[in-house]
Symmetry: C2
Subunit: 409 residues, 2 copies
């Protein structure tokens, strides 16, 4: 590669999004790329020429290791959506002007569905104008909802955090026994796809009875039936723990959280901001049963808890970043790096690449056949799929009793 490269991070951060950045950086260093630019706050920052020289940020191999252990987007993220090309050519021309100005040959964007749309638009526009720059997507999303790839970097670590924390919550919930029966409702992220909530199923094992019900957005939420089942459960056991997705919906299409004081705030991508489904459900249960209830939201911790990241996930996140640079070196553009499952027992994965047009703007849900018939648990097939993704740990570097992070200068 003769020119320079630029890499950006976009959308909700994950525990391992910086491991992909470390992969891009390491891959580019190996290839002898002159300048490795980072966009500060994604394509939005890029439009303002807000760039850093990553070699000045990541000084040595110890910094690379720290970067892998640093949560949230090291470069800063954005939720800026590129406008459609027609009528907005000046935005696209500006991006290519900046690419030319900084002699940037390849642009890498680490993100989810919306970010892959950015890669698609830029590569389409470049192709239509006969430009030479290449554009490669690096998958990242705790939501695990990108198609084609077996799974998405970020998901394994979020799943590990959710399952481990749920085990601790269940143990805590059991502590008072029949003296103080408690129903705890745990709310897990995921607007439309239930992958994250499904991870609650991983908590179950020899030492944990698991969540009593797991409710995904893929299954219509029937409040009366649900409350009826909670009543039955509470008659049989003193500790009931329920895992629900923030995105569960009633048959009439309303989100459960809208039954509370849910706001109508809509973000730049047209997503409705959701919160409070657990509070709504916990209040309904309390009113129906008189039992003590508790609502717990994992909130941003589920995407930021790098201290409990999965080694498999960190490693694959690094690999997709590394592979992206090599794909660009090979002349690829308008594509996203994907993870392929090569073996199940023992688990093995490989890295591939796929046309971005088949990926951008497509959301993959949890297959309905992986949800049990009553809609409240996951099948063995899901466990088989997800278990390998949460395996292994990468020890944080502890300083003063706390995990150390790398900070952008």
């Amino acid at each position: 590669m003769k020119g320079n490269i630029v890499v950006g991070q976009s959308g909700g951060p994950t525990a391992v999004i910086n491991s992909s950045l470390a992969g891009v950086f390491t891959g580019a260093k190996k290839l002898g790329v002159k300048k490795i630019y980072g966009m500060v706050h994604g394509i939005q920052g890029f439009l303002n020429e807000n760039l850093v020289d990553l070699s000045e940020q990541i000084k040595d191999e110890a910094d690379v290791e720290l970067l892998k252990r640093t949560p949230s987007a090291f470069l800063g993220s954005c939720r800026y959506k590129l406008p459609k090309i027609e009528g907005n050519e000046e935005t696209y021309d500006k991006i290519f002007e900046i690419l030319d100005k900084y002699d940037i040959e390849c642009l890498f964007y680490i993100g989810g569905n919306d970010s892959m749309d950015t890669i698609k638009m830029l590569s389409d526009y470049g192709a239509s104008k006969g430009k030479n720059q290449r554009f490669i997507g690096v998958p990242k999303t705790i939501d695990n909802d990108l198609p084609i790839t077996d799974h998405c970097p970020g998901y394994g670590s979020a799943a590990k955090y959710i399952a481990a924390s749920l085990k601790e919550i269940i143990r805590d919930n059991e502590s008072f026994g029949v003296e103080k029966p408690t129903v705890t409702v745990v709310e897990i992220m995921g607007r439309h796809a239930g992958w994250l909530t499904a991870a609650a199923a991983l908590a179950k094992g020899e030492d944990c009875s698991g969540a009593d019900m797991i409710c995904l957005p893929e299954v219509t939420f029937d409040m009366d039936k649900f409350i009826g089942k909670v009543k039955e459960l509470a008659e049989k056991k003193s500790s009931v723990v329920l895992a629900i997705s923030e995105g569960i919906k009633l048959e009439d299409g309303r989100f459960v959280c809208e039954l509370g004081d849910g706001s109508d705030y809509v973000d730049a991508f047209g997503h409705k901001q959701l919160s409070g489904a657990a509070v709504v459900v916990a209040n309904k249960i309390a009113a129906a049963t008189g039992l003590k209830t508790r609502a717990i939201e994992f909130s941003t911790l589920q995407r930021a808890a790098t201290h409990l990241a999965s080694m498999t996930d960190i490693s694959e996140a690094f690999q997709v970043g590394y592979a992206a640079v090599n794909a660009a070196e090979d002349g690829k553009t308008g594509m996203m790096i994907i993870i392929e499952r090569k073996g199940q027992d023992p688990y093995q994965s490989g890295i591939g690449i796929y046309d971005i047009h088949a990926i951008a703007n497509v959301e993959r849900s949890v297959p309905l056949e992986w949800i049990t018939e009553d809609g409240t648990q996951l099948s063995k097939e899901y466990i088989k799929y997800a278990r390998p993704l949460i395996m292994g740990e990468l020890q944080p570097l502890m300083v003063n009793g706390l995990p150390r992070h790398l900070v952008r200068k």
Copy 2:
């Protein structure tokens, strides 16, 4: 010791309450105690003769290690408060009957303020009736509000979880920068004492700007002044993170959470159930500033996250349990084991013992001189006090990608 012993766990569990149980068990085994009974669900279970033989539960040294790494009360906990002696002699007589029946010479109770009251009452009643049994309290509380002891087992691990999670939350909150300024309000446990919330101050360091304000129940909460400061902060920085105690109160004595939909549920110890202070504050901030706000509660995770426990804490929790058995062997009764700070740099602690009458029903708050003049940060003296308590880690035993726990048979 010729007779048997019994040990119970009481009150809110902690990440290391089972390490103290492991200490009692190991100490008793070393002394050759015949039967080591465990009360299932504390003194309440004991009154129903709900006992287990701990040697059948903890089979070998690997089980002891697993027990140290198991959150929540292994034996089950209770919030049962012994009635006052006058007029309730039959309850006390029943306890001593059961002690005699099982040839129990010493009773150990792992708990906080209310549990120490149980030790006081039982030892007072036994003394008044010329009984031979001994009663020793083993300190445990994430609230860190027991007097005399330098600190309480359970606090260090909760503080470590709070500070580490807050660092991750702050990183996440910074990810979108000026494009999407966000004010996050983190609610931390602690009805009357601010020790847990103070732990937010430990997050600050070379790689973290820390919480922008830390509000403890020791300082009257002035909503208008607070909102004014948040406005000032939000003008200067795009990410504002505030740590508040669940127990912050207005000048008129009302809890801040009561301004929301706070319920009036009162537990068996007369404690009002609190929740939702962060939601109340976040809504007020949103209304006053128009900024995006988020409320996060650590909820039960802060007392159950054994996966991130402090090695110092686990070790001291073990030691106080172990020492309790040896104190009873030496004929002590009506006392609680305490931790004494022997050295600061390097930190060293020693184990002592103290009259339970000076401890039961006394709550220790954060010294006001450790809170900065404006009431929103902690002083260096607090950091000096708390930092050693969060140092070190004890690796969980990971099975199938998750921390393994020991389960009561």
